[in-house]
């Protein structure tokens, strides 16, 4: 119950700033819409470019991407690197009898849920407007496994971004690393296009990295493109990444926090 109360208190804070959430959501909305317009033009010109993906599948992918981009792409890294480490805000966290990583977890989750809710509303609106063009029908077992994949995707995204954030304990100019990370995520997570559209080598790299398990696999799972065995395999790989990243975070945190000087505080 204590954790729920801490979560709800943070939710109030994020809810008080819902207009800021809306602005960030719009950014998550525009890119997928633009990409869909591009592919709609290509399909219109060339017919079915990829045999396993018709235009309706592509549309569902991008509209689900609006939800996934808002809900699953954690944006805690700048908070951690800039405000907490470089500006010294970490001082007020590490003297609390509560782990820093979980305080940041409860800070971030409400923002994702609020922006994710905007995404779901957008999906419903498009579904009403476009009817069967956006239809997805899935058996309950697939839905349950897909929900698990989305939860694990969130955890994976969170631990990755926390590690990126605490890198500022060693790196003075953290923003360069953040930019590189953004580019890598855009390419390999499936934010540009479904991984099937990429060349084989790039796709193989993408499946070897954790990023496709944050966006691409949650999306195709919800589109019914994975069978139960595939989904269980995805959950297994996500679990391994989560355990690995959590372990790496703890290791880096233990070493890095000794370097914190609390400058600015």
């Amino acid at each position: 119950m204590r954790y729920f109360r801490i979560f709800f208190l943070h939710f109030q804070q994020a809810f008080a700033l819902r207009s800021r959430s809306m602005v960030w959501f719009l950014i998550s909305l525009f890119n997928p819409v633009l990409f869909y317009i591009f592919w709609a033009g290509a399909y219109h010109e060339k017919g079915n470019i990829f045999t396993s993906w018709n235009l309706s599948n592509v549309a569902v992918y991008y509209i689900l991407l609006v939800i996934a981009g808002s809900l699953l792409i954690v944006h805690i890294e700048e908070d951690v690197a800039h405000w907490d480490i470089q500006e010294g805000g970490l001082s007020r966290y590490i003297l609390k009898p509560f782990p820093y990583i979980w305080l940041k977890f409860f800070e971030e989750l409400p923002w994702r849920l609020i922006q994710g809710a905007f995404g779901i509303i957008t999906f419903v609106v498009f579904r009403i407007l476009l009817g069967d063009f956006l239809s997805v029908s899935l058996p309950l077992s697939i839905v349950i496994l897909a929900v698990c994949i989305w939860i694990f995707a969130y955890l994976l995204s969170f631990f990755y971004k926390m590690i990126l954030g605490i890198s500022a304990l060693w790196i003075t100019d953290y923003s360069g690393l953040q930019q590189i990370s953004e580019v890598v995520i855009v390419i390999f997570a499936g934010l540009l296009m479904p991984l099937e559209f990429l060349p084989d080598t790039v796709r193989q790299i993408a499946t070897a990295l954790p990023f496709s398990y944050i966006i691409y696999y949650p999306l195709v799972a919800l589109q019914g493109k994975l069978n139960i065995v595939d989904m269980l395999r995805v959950i297994g790989i996500q679990s391994l990444w989560i355990i690995g990243l959590h372990f790496l975070f703890q290791l880096l945190w233990k070493k890095g926090v000794k370097l914190f000087t609390g400058i600015g505080q």
Binding site: R2, R5, I6, L9, H10, Q12, Q13, A16, L17, G88, S91, R92, I94, L95, K96, P97, F98, L103, K258, F260, T261, G262, Q265
Partner: protein, 324 residues
């Protein structure tokens, strides 16, 4: 002893770069570092319930010491013990008994009333409902902020925010309180309110308080014991009155004259610090103050005479100057 600190050192390695483009290139190949001794071999201990003033100029090492004591920083060497814990282990049992309050640095949620942050701290510190309500009621009463509890933090004045910060920091009733510049940026009225609160809190809760401040008034009003630090080393640790006796080598004679006397005649008695007829201020060696006073009364048309200790600010300034 609640706080015990032995041979604490905290050194930083700071990168030094030569000026200009060539300096940048050189630093790529060969980086030069300088060791800054923020705290250099200091030792002291503080008993339960003591309120100690920790003073020194900017960069003296006050805040670094406080950060080492609270557990924020790992010391380079030395033994630090607070309430029997090693602070930088940051054990929950330790963190629940201390608070570090830094002036103008906030933990309050900006867009919500301060009481939401108090509730968050209640959960984080696992405070029982009854205890939470009692502590909150006491603090609200002491700081007189009942009307502000439901106001968004961004709408509060700096002084009101500082009061709320104190409540947030004290809601778990810490046994040890580290206050770093708690009155910085506040107007004189609010400074006084804050001092009154700290004094009253110390008296009521018997908390051990270590206070740093740039304002000597804070230290004069609150602390019986002071620790003076400069360049990372302790220059003085003892009672405030003893500091005056130890370091004040002069006394100040303030006189009011009936008739005008030329300044050169007054200078014969001592160092004429100020002369604005009919008032004059003369500084004399401590041991000669009685003789000088008698001389003034005997040889000059003196209407009034006072023998005073120099200002504590002046004494401390002298301590720092002598050290340099």
């Amino acid at each position: 002893m609640v706080i015990s600190l032995s041979h604490l050192k905290k050194y930083y390695k700071v990168h030094q770069k030569e000026p200009g483009f060539m300096g940048s290139l050189r630093s790529l190949v060969h980086r030069k570092y300088q060791t800054v001794k923020a705290v250099d071999d200091i030792s002291f201990s503080i008993a339960e319930g003591e309120l100690v003033g920790f003073i020194g100029p900017n960069g003296a090492g006050k805040t670094t010491t406080l950060k080492c004591l609270s557990g924020l920083l790992y010391p380079t060497s030395g033994i630090v013990s607070v309430l029997g814990f090693t602070p930088f282990d940051r054990k929950n049992a330790y963190l629940k008994q201390i608070a570090l309050v830094m002036g103008q640095k906030n933990q309050l949620w900006w867009d919500l009333p301060a009481q939401e942050t108090f509730l968050l701290n209640k959960e984080i510190y696992e405070i029982e409902d009854v205890q939470y309500k009692k502590t909150l009621r006491d603090l609200v009463e002491l700081l007189d902020v009942e009307a502000l509890l439901k106001v968004q933090v961004r709408k509060l004045s700096l002084g009101e925010r500082m009061k709320m910060e104190l409540i947030a920091a004290l809601i778990h009733s810490p046994r040890v309180l580290f206050l770093d510049e708690p009155t910085i940026g506040l107007d004189v009225v609010m400074q006084k309110n804050m001092r009154d609160f700290i004094r009253e809190y110390n008296a009521r809760k018997k908390s051990t308080i270590l206070l740093t401040s740039h304002y000597m008034e804070d230290v004069k009003q609150l602390a019986q014991r002071v620790i003076i630090i400069d360049h990372g080393r302790i220059l003085y640790d003892g009672k405030l009155e003893a500091l005056v006796k130890k370091f004040a080598k002069h006394k100040v004679l303030s006189i009011v004259l009936d008739e005008y006397v030329t300044p050169d005649k007054l200078e014969a008695v001592g160092d004429l610090v100020e002369y604005n007829f009919p008032k004059a201020v003369i500084r004399v060696p401590r041991s000669a103050s009685n003789v000088a006073a008698a001389q003034l009364l005997e040889k000059f048309p003196v209407d009034d005479l006072n023998i005073e200790e120099p200002d504590i600010e002046d004494i401390i300034r002298d301590v720092f100057t002598q050290k340099k």
